[in-house]
């Protein structure tokens, strides 16, 4: 097999790591609250800007910048929930989509207002490793590893802790959890915080590899949506797997054609699949 193809496949797997992380965050929020955060990718963008300014402008050491960013975006998630999601929780899905759509508009434009449309890079150059005459970006390797660790940590949190089990419970029956002393609103806040934290973590990983600009959310946002829908909205494991399926399509498509066409391919694949199996590959 062509070594460059193998390299593409491997890079695809690595790319899948971050996508999976974001898919988990989105699915968590949707599974519990039935709301799709259309602006999720733009929240990640906020995190990336935060890292840029902390590290590249104010000289905060990178690890610290990462921690602050994750905490900050987590807080942003809670804020978004309280201000925008909570008021429309009982509204029809359209209203919820519009509410988060409005947030998307707002975040992208506000970022344009504050920072302009320039591309900014934090300037961290991580080495490119050579493994068996294939080139693998170290940054991407880290991103994959961290993404995986994050996913596993989330898994254990949801399976083994009281709050985590409560989150799974509330996704199955929102009303009745109160009978067990579980405060719905508090769970929503926790879930929003976790979703935000995952976005913040993704921001750290993406900042290592890509430039940030106000519209970067439009590049990977829609990809995350189709991953989640493909895996079944709300299905964490489905989303996890779908992330790697899509990332492979992008990687292999990029190898045979161009990166842009590979995205077109991925989206077309999604649309076609939706028409065959509307509930996703693995509906719950």
């Amino acid at each position: 097999m062509d070594i460059y193809l193998v390299e593409a496949i491997i890079n695809g797997i690595l790319l899948g790591g971050v996508l999976a992380l974001l898919a988990l965050g989105l699915n968590l929020i949707f599974g519990v609250m039935d709301v799709v955060w259309i602006a999720y990718a733009d929240i990640v963008m906020c995190g990336m800007y935060a890292i840029y300014f902390l590290y590249a402008q104010y000289g905060v050491p990178l690890p610290l910048a990462f921690i602050i960013a994750i905490a900050g975006v987590s807080g942003l998630g809670v804020l978004v929930h309280l201000l925008i999601i909570a008021p429309v929780l009982d509204s029809p899905p359209l209203n919820q989509l519009l509410a988060t759509g409005g947030l998307l508009f707002f975040l992208q434009s506000f970022a344009t207002l504050l920072f302009g449309t320039d591309f900014r890079n934090i300037g961290v150059r991580l080495p490119v490793l050579e493994i068996a005459s294939m080139y693998v970006s170290f940054a991407r390797l880290i991103a994959f590893a961290v993404g995986l660790i994050g996913a596993v940590a989330l898994y254990f949190f949801l399976k083994r802790t009281y709050v985590g089990t409560a989150i799974r419970a509330i996704a199955q029956d929102r009303e009745i959890v109160a009978l067990m002393g579980i405060d719905q609103r508090r769970i929503y806040i926790v879930v929003s915080a976790i979703g935000g934290a995952l976005a913040g973590l993704a921001a750290c990983l993406l900042a290592l590899q890509y430039d940030v600009h106000p519209f970067i959310g439009n590049t990977f946002g829609p990809v995350i949506f189709i991953i989640c829908v493909l895996g079944g909205l709300g299905n964490m494991i489905g989303g996890f797997i779908a992330a790697f399926v899509i990332s492979q399509i992008i990687a292999i498509g990029g190898y045979y054609a161009s990166t842009e066409l590979s995205y077109v391919l991925a989206f077309t694949f999604f649309i076609v699949l939706m028409l065959i199996r509307p509930r996703g590959l693995f509906a719950p």
Binding site: L98, F105, S109
Partner: protein, 344 residues
Amino acid sequence: MFLAAGIVVLIALPLVAPTYFLHLVIQILIWAFIYTAWSLMGRFGFVSFGHGAFMGIGAYVPALLWGYWDVTPWLGIPLSVMASVLLAVIVGYPCFRRKVVGHYFALVTLALSQVVLLSLIAARDITGGSLGFTQKTVGHSWYALQFPEKGYFYAIAVLLWLAGLWVWLWIDRGIGREALEAISEDEDAAAAVGIDVMREKMRVTVISAALTALGGAIYGQYVMYLNPETVSGISVSLQIVFAAILGGVYSLFGPSVGSLLTLSLTEGLRVWFGTNFIGAANTIYGILLVLCVIFMPQGVVGTLQLIRLRRRSQAKPAAAQDGVTAQDGVTAKGGVTAKGGVTT
């Protein structure tokens, strides 16, 4: 009374208004047409986040045909409309067959508009990609549908806008409208009473897609410069949805009001702040949209109608009005609802 004044204004405008102002009005009218086209579907709860796809196709096909092969837009535009309709059918038919609704429908249509956007960018050798595509100018020409004098396009824009309103009324007054409302409320029940759900949904989708493409085409002919980001993709799709909702998606003039408001706001901000505050307009839109969704789901026009009705019902007992009921707010089906109104 209003109507007469409106007609006078419409006719007089190109004669007295400065060029810049006319330029603004033309754009407001074209976008109003597009938003109205979207609302044909939107008002029945079929919320598409993908109309950017149709607009993009509508704009680029005639432009490319003209630019490379001198094909007149009189031919190019119908072709692009047919292409959009084809796309709408290819995606819409299986979607409706499989009952893809709600979140899933929104995300599928979103993916659709992204596909068109990315395809346009990927085919950069032909389309110019992200740098855009400037149309070949030949001055005043009916063949090329190009007119440097604003007056011509003003007339075209007005006719287009009126045509859009006419189609809206046609659907609103027809039997199709009740069928569609039944469908949006409960698809299975509607099918059970003999409504051909598929045919009704496809019909309104095709009309909506065709008109949106037409709007995109005229827009392209007017501004003479196309960019994938301004005529297709997720931003444009959201913009369409937003403006229609802001103005009020259930009323005839709602989307037009939305166009008026949003474009006026952008221009106003641009004039006031200059280029220092790029992004200010959309920032405000974003906030407005969120506030609108939370507090005023019927949009500006809808809310005004509501207020007017409430006042009237305080004077004498309320009677149900054409399309808007006085009971607990505007009744909506399967979509944006007033607080305390009937929801699906």
